[in-house]
Symmetry: C2
Subunit: 66 residues, 2 copies
């Protein structure tokens, strides 16, 4: 779901001269894990508000917890 | 770079019954921003270790800061 290639690009944009393949993969893992943590919180916030639909405001609230 | 469609999938996997389009976009923004923050730290850690190549260990160290 989160590919390593765009992660290598992000590392370059962040100033990396060179990026090892495993570094790009590690960043993809970080991103995937954090996205899931934020998503779980967002779902909880939607449920807490009595909604079945997760909205932008749920994700924004979840973001503040990381 | 981070598409909204896989973010909607992540929200579903996290338990969402329904996901608004803007929620998926918001999660994509969160992911993009966090990836860049982690990447900047990883680059600093590589430089601090006297390397031009960002390695997995730099990303893992950067992850601990968020």
């Amino acid at each position: 779901m989160v590919a390593a290639a765009p992660m290598a690009e992000i590392l370059k944009r962040a100033g990396a001269e060179r990026v090892s393949e495993t570094a790009a993969k590690a960043l993809a893992e970080v991103v995937r894990d954090i996205a899931f943590e934020v998503a779980k919180d967002a779902v909880r916030f939607a449920q807490h508000a009595g909604r079945k639909t997760v909205k932008r405001s749920d994700v924004e609230l979840a973001r503040k917890r990381i």
